[in-house]
Amino acid sequence: MSVGGGATIDPREVVAPVPKRRREWVTTVVEAWHLRRTKIGFVMFIALLAVALFGRFVAPYSPTEFVGPPFSLPTASYWLGTDFLGRDVLTRVLYGGLSVFVLGISATLIGMVLGVSLGLISGYARRWVDESIMRMLDVVLAFPSVVLAMLFVSILGPRLWLIVLMVGISHMPRIARVTRAATVELVARDFVKAAAAVGVPRRTILLFEVLPNISSPLLVEFGLRLTYSIIMIAALSFIGLGMQPPAADWGLMINENRIAIVVQPWAVVAPVILIGALTVSANLMADGLSRAMMGIDRDTALS
């Protein structure tokens, strides 16, 4: 054994206990949770989600029921007053959140799937495939996202799936860019070459070698894009391209009731506050995650 490596590792060191190691995104989430901003954001988000999901069960009226004269100020029987048709504002607020959540989250997911796929392919392929994908995305990026959505919605009519798809597509270029940047850096590492050298198929390399290594920036991106989705969906509802009357929707409510903002401000202010709170909460969580990922507030802990 004098020449061999048999004696080179001390078995005592090998069996030494090793701290439990988590997946990267779990580490990021746990670290983000230590930040106050993440906790505040999370609590706000959960509270708003609860309102959106369960608010309808405690609503005093039906959202389409006429309960009093239009634009009545709050009274004991309708706490937030009535809207332009005399429906209860509180009821409509309690009903109107679900669409914002469902549409916002699904649009973000669509954007993530499209953007991450294109970013991975583009970052790994390089050369002309990379160039063509990125330039194509630049074209999408060149349209203001709301204008892009308006264009298609005005052609095909205000369909919900179309709105979700268009919001998702408008996210695609930015998500693809983030993914591509992270991928390019990883592809330069030797373990990707090592996998290619033994003949691992490209798809497997992208999904199992590269993707797990970029989960943290993607998680941050998801949080950020969720914020924008909510804003865009609310904005599209406001300009009349999203949810259609008589549906209860926070964005739509702002539009319907804005003419009387001086007379009955609550019909506008209540959904504005909720949309604002929702974007702030999503943003706080995204910010917490990105800080945790970059180690900005990390305790100077031992490796």
Partner: protein, 608 residues
Amino acid sequence: MSDAKSDVVLSVEDLRIILDPSGIEIDDGVSFVIHQGEVLGLVGESASGKTTAATSLLAYQRRGAKIAGGCVGINGTDVLSASGSALRRIRGGLISYVPQDAAAALNPALRIGDQLMEILDAHSFGSSDAEREARLAQMMDEVLLPRDKVFLRRYPHQLSGGQQQRVTIAMAMANRPKVIVLDEPTTALDVTTQAHVLDTVRDLTRSYGVSALYVTHDLAVVACLADRIAIMYAGRLVEIGPMAELFTGAYHPYTRRLLAAIPDIHGKRALHGIPGYAPRPGRRVAGCAFTPRCDWRIEKCATDFPPDEAPDPKRRIRCWRWRDVRLGAGTRLSGEGTGPSFEDDRPCTTVDTTVVSVRDVTACYQRKEVLHGVSATLRRHRCLALVGESGSGKTTLARCIAGLHPFKIDGTIELNGKALARETPARTRAERQAIQYIFQSPYSSLNPRKTVRQLLAQPIGIFFKLDRDGTEERMVQVLGQVALDASLLNRYPEQLSGGERQRIAIARALAAEPAVLICDEVTSWLDVSVQAAIIELLVHLQTETGVSMLFVTHNLALIRSVAHEVAVMNEGRIVEHGLVDAVLDDPQVDYTRLLLADTPTLPAECRL
């Protein structure tokens, strides 16, 4: 030189550095002095706290570390108690720092001339701009760089690695400091450039009486430079003494093991790594931290830290058994790594059985031709070393053979007489299996999100049809081949040391049962002690499995211990080729002689 107390320039007393929130010690009780014009080599493995100790001489600590006690004095000035503008005058004025990675240390957005002038301005050197410009020109002469305006107007990225390092040395020397701290300034450079930089440092210290602290993990590098050497282990100085005395008669077992790990360019001998690895801060034992790895350990070692003793006025030692070690007397656990010379018992067929043959290969990197008609053969059971500086095309050739070169290649590369396709996807599975590539950096070649089990399962899954138990059995077997325990299977790469990672990378290559193993600078990221262990392992593996090896390196000293044949490459061509002993003992080409002369190795008087 060291007799008079008055010529002490820098004194460090009882320096103690801790991690800030946790209070874990990085360095403890570090004391030494440096005399006028003296070069002190501070040597230790990774995580021994040597860089932390070195930067604290400038009262600087990286984030998370804190100087908890001790005293650093330069010519009577207390550095650690200085702050604000006084500290700024000390840094760069009295004592300066040359970083490890010059490319990262220079500001990429500033021209060289402006960066150098910035140092002079910051310390209000001289009295006029003309005087400062004169000094700037003088500095460029001192570090042997051109002094003309065209050169000074360049940006750092327009300079070579050696030139960048010279610029940082010029910056450090700008205000004629008393002491410069050099933190492994040649680690990123190849041997020729390294030799030039070392020459520059030596000349500067000699001619201007500047003292230097040279931090490195490689004793061979300081052998040609340092007057005295301090050996650091786990945050404590364990031995300090004049260079020649330490090389010929070290008292500390650790110093002896470090010396045994240095490859010798002149004589053939087996390299001996040090078992285990240096403990990181927080994982250190009470008593002498080297105890678990020490052949000379006794019970007392694990519990009590040995006192600082002075065998003679010039030397200091911290070891309970230094008297025994000096005499080679008393009980020991096993033979020290200075034993028999390198006996090559690897199977060595005389029949000419070519495994890989490369004929007239010309390859481009992007559009530039980097290999010009290279031909070489690798025979069965043999190890061929490819040696050259960076940019000589040695890695390109290795990658062409492995099918990992994504640019234009002309000429033929054959495996067992059959021409290989240019890139791996076009090769057959058997061909991909036959040639396995081990990458330079084990920090980059292992996916950080995969456990050792997943890493090893990949080649086994692709090349062999094994069931669950069979795969598991095979994994344990290859881990055994690289001398690792099966308990590592569930670990992630970040939970392993550099040497262990490289072993995993080797195990992954072995799992494919290759005919040819291509090792691309596999030790260049590792400490010298770990390098020796990896070389030991590779030689052992070749003996056992009879795999043919292509060993790419820039370190000529290594190849005697591992290779049968050597091909010396320069600027994309093979300039000399032959048996290792023949080439190294009697080089035929000037370029080989130059490389040999530049390779740091043990001083002549302490060859084993």
